[in-house]
Symmetry: C2
Subunit: 198 residues, 2 copies
DNA sequence: GCCTAAACGGACCGCCCGGTCAACTTGTTA
DNA sequence: TAACAAGTTGACCGGGCGGTCCGTTTAGGC
């Protein structure tokens, strides 16, 4: 068992840590998981060794970036569970979720393993909040009944991915596809879905 | 200028070439662009050097695999342009397109550069066939008017990508998401899309 | 201002990858 | 069946990656 005493970070270390996280977020957004640690370090203006002092592994660094985003999303989702218009609330949530590069996050959704407890915890918060969001929207008749929290999680990431293939995407193009997908969730169509939700 | 005389391949070379292509398709499907040439060669039961004799570059090998798929898709799309029910035809096409791993293909859709002429040609055929498919479906009132051929191309790849994040996906789960997305293309919703098509 | 532990940084390591090459094997043709 | 071109192969190369290490710098309590 490893015992770590959380003494406060030295001022310069704290500064470096935050610019490192910012740089990592940008670099991962730009190059996906292939972003190199050396590039991240360069962008943050620190040495490569310093990166590994803060995060023992590239994966740990990625996890920290993702935790940040999942945390924010979970907070937003929880806030929206009390909105007056449940349909609009769900749309707003998916809009916020799709607006950022989420590919990385998704790959962490399935890791059931030994990721750090905070991440697993944040994921749990996010999941349950989304489920309430979905349930309320269904009760309000805003979306079809045979939809899942998982469906929403999966679909909200599609727009960004899809847009990533067009050469010079207008910055809001993803909204177009989110809109289409959200329309697909509406109860109008009424034909049952061919497969059960995961 | 390089002049190549197309003499017929030796029997063993032809055999190797086709098992190489099959192995490459499987390996790319399993590991994406990160599939290593060595693994592909091993799966095909040939030496790594042989791979590079048939295709001077890993990218050329990928292009050959993709060409195959694009060709098939284009043929299907052309066949469907004369179907009696244009709405069903478009759905059938998207179904066939989504049913296979298309991520690779998409990345080639945007390469305007110096990819080989056959590939560019097949892509062109695919594009125009899809556009007719979409136009006919619109004239039949099966899908909304503010949709593009490009929209269809982009969206038809989303289901597979989305499903790739669920741990042990049932083999037909992608159909669920294709269905949702296709419902989003239906004219019922009627609210105009927030952004113009690419 | 001094001292020490904390933090830093970049040279360095081993690994894996795409791609090359020259020695070897094999299909083909007369 | 002989002889040659076509094809095969795996050792090898250079480069880039994640990760390590140790000499150097620096923040902050006294």
């Amino acid at each position: 068992m490893i015992v770590t005493i959380d003494r406060p970070l030295r001022a310069d270390a704290a500064r470096n840590r935050s610019s490192l996280l910012a740089a990592a977020a940008e670099e991962f957004a730009a190059h996906g998981l292939d972003a190199s640690v050396a590039d991240i370090a360069r962008r943050a203006g620190i040495g490569k060794g310093t990166v590994f002092r803060h995060f023992p592994t590239k994966d740990d660094l990625l996890a920290a970036v993702v935790l940040d985003r999942i945390d924010n999303l979970a907070a937003l989702a929880q806030r929206l569970t009390t909105a007056t218009d449940p349909g609009a609330a769900l749309l707003e949530f998916m809009d916020a979720a799709a607006g950022r590069q989420q590919q990385l996050d998704l790959s962490f959704l399935r890791e059931s393993g030994e990721i750090n407890a905070r991440l697993r915890n944040a994921r749990e918060r996010l999941f349950t909040a989304i489920i309430t969001l979905v349930t309320r929207a269904q009760e309000a008749g805003a979306i079809r009944a045979d939809i899942n929290g998982m469906d929403v999680i999966l679909l909200m990431c599609a727009p960004n991915h899809v847009v990533s293939f067009v050469p010079d995407p207008p910055p809001d193009l993803w909204r177009r596809y989110l809109h289409i997908i959200f329309d697909g969730l509406r109860p109008d169509g009424a034909q049952p879905l061919p497969d059960p939700a995961p």
